[in-house]
Amino acid sequence: MADSVADIRPLFQVRDLRLAFPDMTRKPLFGPAPQTEVLHGLTFDIPRGAVLGIVGGSGSGKTTLGRVLVRLLRPTSGELVFDGREIGHLDEAALRPLRRRFQMIFQDPMSSLNPRRRVGSLIAAPLQLHGFDRTSQRVDQALDHVGLPRAFRHRYPHELSGGQRQRVGIARAIAMQPEFILADEIVSGLDVSSQAQVLQLLADLVRDLGLTLAFISHDLSVIRRLCSRIMVLHLGHIVEHSDTAALFDNPQSDYTRELLDAIPLPDPDQVWR
């Protein structure tokens, strides 16, 4: 089974992916608004088991790309192939059975956890939707996995700390036993100590559960520790996509070099050109 075609094929195959939004500020009085393209024809693969870091500054399109991958947004054109199946242009109904297989963890857990649901219900609701059995045990397992006490299932999100909320977000995603998880800036709101813990947890889960992960961040230092491959986005283009070590040792594009140079290392001897 390990050598079957299905397993060596990349989990995601993205070809010439484009996304444009109507620009309401330039809309004429009548007729449609002109389109502004924010993703300009992206082509890349995400192999099974890979941990792909997606980096870029504000306005690079990294968050938008993430939302296209999990089909919160519909691409304007191009191919988005998940496990051999084109999903870029499926409608919601056709997509629904597939949704369990790619999950997302959001940047702001305060906004992404429904404030009027308890933790248990937050994790269980998607499970029930997809007809999982023994949801109660699965909720407990998920809480165990992310290192939260089982008693937390009775709490509301506002009763948790930032790091704990982010763990609930992770628990909700892994409880669905997905093949792919998208993590969008999930540590940018956390202190360095909780950041380190959450990243450690994510790294362990990816290894233990055999997940494929796309990790969006603006912080190359964070990405280096976690990711096997890195893709650098700039203004809606892929400027570099390579192996982690290769990217840091020998960056190919000017933008990547500029990005690396700008990072303040915790080291007074670093020469800042």
């Binding site: 500020t25 809309k27 004429p28 009085l29």
Partner: protein, 335 residues
């Protein structure tokens, strides 16, 4: 961008007005069954009915009737009042100044009181005074103008009768005026004796109308002021050496006032709506009082005229407020 915004806004206003005309037409002409019978005084002859049928095209399709009716309305032809046998437009315009003056007076009172409460509450935030202002605002807000009117009648008409609680002006003074805008005219002609008499009549109904609006302004403006006071640019101004009053007025007020402004626009239309019952309560001879008489007398052409004038007034006010917002907001002005 500004021009397009204004143009779009004008278009939606037009659509709204068209919708208003349809609603009025449907309510008055379609629902009651035989409109002719309603438009005629008791004892009308079949010949009268025949004539009206031809005049309003009641023998034609509903759609055709609508356009005939709309054509008349657009040209200012709202028909003739059944009660007085006078053109509706003249009657309505004769009463409009009284209602406008009352509403504007109430608005001024509300803005002054509300603004004062908001600024005081912001200046003294965290103290017992702020708590008292909050409780007072909450009370004032949850009691409608009808009840405030009654309370004021009891307090200043019966218990401590210092104000007139009936009419717009002492009857013998009416012939002193050349226009229907008594209040404006008395000020322009510097006739403060007339002005005083007007105010004695107007203050109570205006105050009744103003109380809830003052509370809303007080509450919302204070809330946005307090939110603004936490923003970085206000903090920055403090570090520059400015005192609390300066910071509230120059840094916070201009930005906090925009949401309040839109609210005042919407609420001002509610306030004008409130004049209907307040005028009745204080026997104030404005449009609202006339409307209620018209309903009681089943004078449908007159009601229709009044409703359309009110709707026009409301839509124009909303339009003006929107434009004002657009012009005052630098983000939109220099987009």
């Amino acid at each position: 961008m500004l021009a397009r915004r204004i143009l779009t806004r004008l278009l939606t206003t037009l659509v709204t007005l068209l919708g208003v005309s349809i609603v009025v037409f449907v309510v008055i002409r379609v629902v009651p069954g035989n409109p002719i019978a309603m438009m005629l005084p008791p004892g009308a002859t079949p010949a009268d009915i025949e004539r009206l049928n031809a005049l309003y095209g009641f023998d034609r399709s509903i759609l055709a009737q609508y356009f005939i009716w709309l054509g008349g309305v657009v040209q200012g032809d709202f028909g003739t009042s059944i009660q007085t046998r006078q053109p509706v437009l003249g009657l309505v315009l004769g009463r409009l100044p009284a209602t406008l003056e009352l509403a504007i007076m109430a608005l001024v009172i509300a803005v002054v009181i509300g603004g004062f409460l908001a600024l005081t509450g912001t200046r003294l935030r965290g103290t017992a005074t702020e708590g008292a202002i909050d409780v007072g605002n909450g009370m004032a807000l949850s009691v409608p103008v009808f009840l405030w009117g009654l309370v004021l009648i009891l307090l200043f008409g019966v218990l401590w009768p210092v104000f007139n609680i009936s009419g717009r002006i002492s009857p013998h003074l009416v012939q002193e005026f050349h226009t229907r805008f008594f209040l404006f005219e008395s000020v322009l002609r510097l006739r403060f004796d007339l002005w005083l008499d007007l105010m004695r009549h107007m203050l109570m109904p205006a105050l009744a109308l103003a109380i809830p609006l003052a509370a809303i302004i007080g509450q919302l403006l204070k809330q946005s002021l307090k939110e603004t006071m936490h923003l970085d640019y206000v903090t920055l101004a403090r570090t520059k050496g400015y005192g609390e009053n300066h910071v509230i007025v120059r840094e916070a007020l201009r930005n906090a006032i925009l949401p309040t402004l839109t609210l005042i626009g919407v609420q001002f239309t509610f306030l004008i709506g409130g004049t209907v019952i307040i005028e009745r309560l204080f026997s104030y001879e404005g449009l609202g009082n006339m409307a209620i008489d018209a309903v009681i007398n089943r004078d449908l052409p007159l009601i229709q005229g009044i409703v359309i004038i009110f709707a026009l007034l409301f839509t124009v006010i909303n339009l003006i407020v929107d434009m004002l917002y657009t012009v005052l907001n630098p983000r939109l002005r220099h987009g």
